[in-house]
Amino acid sequence: MRYAIPKTAAEAASLLMEEAARVLAGGTDLLVQMKSGARSPEVIVDIKHLPGLRDISREDGGFRIGAAVSGAEMQEHADLVAAWPGVVEGVNLIGSTQIQGRATMAGNLCNGSPAADGVPAQIAAQAVVRIVGPKGERDCPVAEIPTGPGKISLGRGEFVASILLPARPERSGDAYLRFIPRTEMDIAVAGAAVNLVLAADGTVDQARVALGAVAPTAMLVEEAGAALVGTKLEQPALDALAKACEAACKPIDDKRGTVEFRTHVAGVLARRAARIAYVRAGGRA
């Protein structure tokens, strides 16, 4: 096994062309997988030292977050938290305080877990992922990255360099909630992210709802968002939201939760997250 610290993105991409190469950012998934024997990479490519990968920078009114920025660093960035509280709270739910010092939003995405807490709010936020590979850079909507449990759409030699959270209009807010049987240190049994933009009168103008842990990948539920548009989150709208979420669920039955449970709870979480996002956007609940 080899451990490499590339100095340039091109060098990183070329290292990643090798057999059984894996990207190391925070390492909170990779090292655990190696220890359990689930993965035995030949080359570990540590991308933390590439230029810009540990930066949060402003871009067109939004935020570009380097792939090696930790959850703790995101939490400490007041402007980012103010603009995208739901995205940040999703990332901050990963692991524990100690894990937050290492874990990254990009790593959480690239691990490909359907239950990744960092992903649904990014989908609701319409985040754009910047991918670097042997052929240079390309941008890709975040929802197109995960393709199934443990699988992502990146090609050989490619890695995520940063993620762009777009600029926020006035009266916007997002929120993420997940269900675990404990209070921390657990894997989501269901998760829901809601991103809202309100009109001046408090009516929902735009709404995006994404669910996690209830299908092979985290997913956008368009009908769920549509159920909120034009409403002020009155009970029928919230019920329609929950129904749309339940209809979109295709969960597995396993030790963490039954199909019935995950489906029901996804709707409940979406309702609750919508209320939080609404208040954050300045709406009066």
Partner: protein
């Protein structure tokens, strides 16, 4: 005056809260745990485990693995003899499978190699041919005729018709006329319950270092609750003389009963004997879950009759336990404990054990009692709800007291149940208001406590300090309490005493640290050893003063003339006598090698408030209070710690911890991610109230406190959840999917 007679006395050290003697070592990392010891030339061992729930071992081919670089020894069951003793044979077969593998994770072979990588490669090169057999992992399924038989020839002598040969143990307790009792009842409730197996969850996995020389003499360092148990078991399996095997217990990172047997020690010794080099074997967490002792899985029926005013007229319980793949009698302790809290005219309990394809059960704090009492206290709570009665009043009406003939035959001496119930009733927790979706649960709990055998040597050093050497690993603060007891008896400061846990060659036999026995029994032996030492010191003073030894008594840490007729001499302190001891007759020590009954049962009462989220089934423990009779708390911090620890573990058992087996009979959650022990943020502060009703069997009144505290939480939480959710639940753990399902079914 009889030795154990209690005198009213003002304690100077007992009952205070000095700094714990093991604290600094533990927080700085200096403490040496099982895996911390190494030896020159040491090999690393790894264990090959069954990937099947149940299979015949057709062949184990180690030829390829033996030839790999770095591999120094491979052992299988064929390297061991066949012990005549059935229990020892079961223990051996659990360490290395004989002709069948009986559960997912059952050890099949072990390798010692120069590096972990070489050992791992060797495991992969061992070829085991299995013939898969049908399996059964559920206790109720295992008891039915036609169930796959886990072990042949081990069935109970009178298995009822229609039951399986998996039924291995039976017991029955009780007295009185059940039929007449139920006839007097205004309300009879009959309910069935199920609980899943849980694991002790100690933070330190099993670990040992074994070294056997060419002369056949062995040394073993390991984390265990009983070095003598390890020595006897390993000597039996390896056919060694006990005198030739020295076992040294390490500092222990939690046991809770789970380290009262062996899993890896005989294997490491066999590897070391074969390789001729020291061998270290450390289990991974995955191995700990799959193949070290969880609790029983249980299925219980309870029937109780009660009058309108809350008097129990008759009570009956049938317990079906499975302790995994070997016979065991945990059902007996459950059947004895089930109704122990109550003074009943008509009571009967039946216990059954059935074999399943699960790992061999080993003790977990009050083995057998929590699941039995969970079922009983659950039915009682439902009856209180139905009859509109106060749960504490009903328990006070029926509570056992001094002179009560218990449901398991013993007549109680002084016990603290009523005092504990009254303390719970008076506690502000009991009358605090509850909000929406919140419920309050209550349960009594009981544990027998044990005495047993222990050895103590108390040495008076020439500088006036004292060493206590004893043979019981400290899993709950016993070194502190034993030092305090020695200081109390000798009349010297606590800081002048240091207590050490010795290896098997340094002091006489001591039973395993279990049964909440150490503060009681080793404390008792320490008092006796101290009194022997003070007698010797009085004799030294008498010789110096030229008076009769019985004219001297030990008061306030010094020899003093007994009354005016003995003569006028200034008191001679322990330090003074110690300083000249080598010239006045030689070293001074007191000994006690002893056995004791009279451990004194302990009762507890737990109160808890829970909020249930009716939309998700999520539970939040809002408030928790433990009231328990300690007899006499030597070091109250540790007593409170035991009370809180038991409650925390019980909360886990009640809400989220469980062994989950798939259809394939394989364990689905062998790790802390999906085996959900509560994390710190899951728990509220746990309030404690120590009740002290002295145990007449101990000179200070001490009762064991380590186990009672895990008994009430299961029912206390179940009752709180049931009241908060507005629907009774009959299965543990009450994980959110189960609660949500019950809430939704209620409508």
């Amino acid at each position: 005056m009889a030795f154990d007679q209690q005198q009213k006395r003002d304690f100077k050290v007992v009952g205070t809260r000095p700094v714990r003697p093991d604290g600094i070592d533990k927080v700085t990392g200096r403490a040496m745990y099982g895996a911390d010891l190494s030896a020159p030339g040491m090999l690393v061992a790894r264990v090959l485990r069954s990937p099947h729930a149940h299979a015949k071992i057709v062949k184990i081919d180690i030829s390829k693995a033996e030839g790999l670089p770095g591999v120094k020894a491979i052992v299988t069951s064929a390297d061991l003899g066949r012990p005549e003793d059935e229990a020892l044979r079961d223990t051996q077969d659990n360490c290395l499978a004989y002709d069948k593998v009986l559960y997912d994770g059952h050890p099949v072979a072990a390798v010692a190699a120069t590096t972990p990588e070489a050992a791992k490669a060797a495991l992969a090169a061992i070829e085991v041919t299995y013939e898969k057999l049908p399996h059964v992992t559920d206790v109720d399924a295992a008891m039915k005729a036609g169930a796959p038989v886990v072990l042949d020839g081990r069935a109970y002598e009178e298995v009822p018709a229609g039951w399986s040969q998996n039924v291995t143990n039976h017991c029955e307790f009780g007295h009185g006329d059940l039929e007449a009792g139920f006839a007097k009842a205004d309300l009879i409730l009959e309910r069935s319950f199920k609980t899943e197996a849980t694991h002790q969850g100690y933070i330190e996995p099993h670990a040992c270092l074994a070294s056997v020389g060419p002369d056949g003499r062995g040394e073993l360092w390991c984390c265990t609750q009983g070095q003598y148990m390890v020595r006897e078991t390993c000597a039996g399996i390896l056919e060694m003389d006990a005198s030739q095997l020295k076992v040294t217990p390490s500092e222990i990172g939690g046991g809770f009963g789970g380290k009262t047997t062996v899993f890896i020690e005989p294997v490491a010794l066999a590897l070391s004997r074969k390789a001729g080099r020291p061998v270290k074997l450390v289990m991974t967490r995955d191995e700990v879950f799959r193949a070290s002792g969880p609790t029983i899985q249980s299925s219980t029926d309870v029937k109780i009759g009660m009058t309108r005013d809350g008097r129990i007229t008759a009570a009956e319980a049938t317990l079906r336990y499975s302790g995994g793949c070997y016979p065991n009698m945990t059902c007996m302790m459950g059947a004895q404990a089930a109704f122990a809290a109550y003074d009943l005219d008509a009571v009967r309990t039946y216990g059954w054990n059935a074999l399943t394809n699960r790992p061999k059960e080993i003790s977990y704090r009050a083995p057998g009692a929590p699941t039995a009492i969970y079922a009983v206290e659950n039915v009682l709570d439902e009856m209180c709800q139905e009859l509109g009665l106060d749960p504490i009043d009903v328990r006070l009406t029926n509570a056992a007291d001094k002179g009560t003939k218990s449901s398991y035959g013993v007549t109680f001496q002084d016990i603290g149940l009523k005092t504990a119930l009254e303390a719970a009733k008076a506690h502000p927790h009991y009358s605090a208001p509850l909000g929406p979706n919140q419920g309050r649960g209550l349960s009594c709990g009981f544990w027998f406590n044990f005495g047993g055998n222990s050895s103590v040597t108390l040495s008076v050093n020439t500088d006036g300090t004292v060493n206590v050497t004893e043979g019981n690993p400290d899993i709950g603060g016993s070194r502190a309490s034993i030092s305090m007891i020695a200081a109390e008896e000798l009349g010297i400061p606590y800081e002048h005493v240091r207590t050490l846990v010795a290896d098997t060659a340094s002091i006489g036999h001591s039973d395993t640290t279990d049964g909440s026995r150490v503060t009681f029994m080793v404390g008792l032996a320490t008092i006796k050893a101290a009194r022997e030492a003070t007698q010797k010191m009085c004799a030294r003073a008498a010789a110096i003063w030229g008076i009769e030894p019985d004219a001297v008594e030990w008061i306030d840490g010094a020899a003093q003339p007994a009354g005016p007729n003995a003569g006028k001499f200034p008191p001679m302190s322990l330090a003074e006598i110690a300083a000249t001891s080598l010239k006045t007759g030689g070293p001074i020590a007191g000994h006690c090698e002893s056995t004791a009954d009279g451990a004194g049962v302990s009762f507890g009462v737990h109160l808890c408030d829970i909020e249930v989220d009716p939309e998700t089934g999520f539970t939040k423990v809002l408030r928790y209070t433990v009231v328990q009779d300690a007899g006499k708390a030597i070091h109250p911090d540790y007593v409170e710690g035991q009370m809180q620890g038991g409650a925390a573990q019980g909360i886990g058992w009640a809400l989220n911890e469980e062994y989950i087996y798939g259809e394939d009979g394989l364990l689905q959650n062998p790790g802390f991610l999906d085996y959900r022990i509560p994390v710190a943020s899951d728990l509220p502060p746990i309030d404690t109230v120590i009740v002290e009703v002295p145990n007449p069997g101990h000179p200070y009144g001490v009762r064991g406190v380590g186990e009672t505290s895990i008994v009430p939480p299961l029912a206390a939480i179940a009752n709180a959840v049931s009241r908060a959710a507005g629907v009774r639940l009959h299965e543990l753990p009450m994980s959110p999917p189960k609660i949500l399902k019950a809430v939704m079914a209620k409508g």
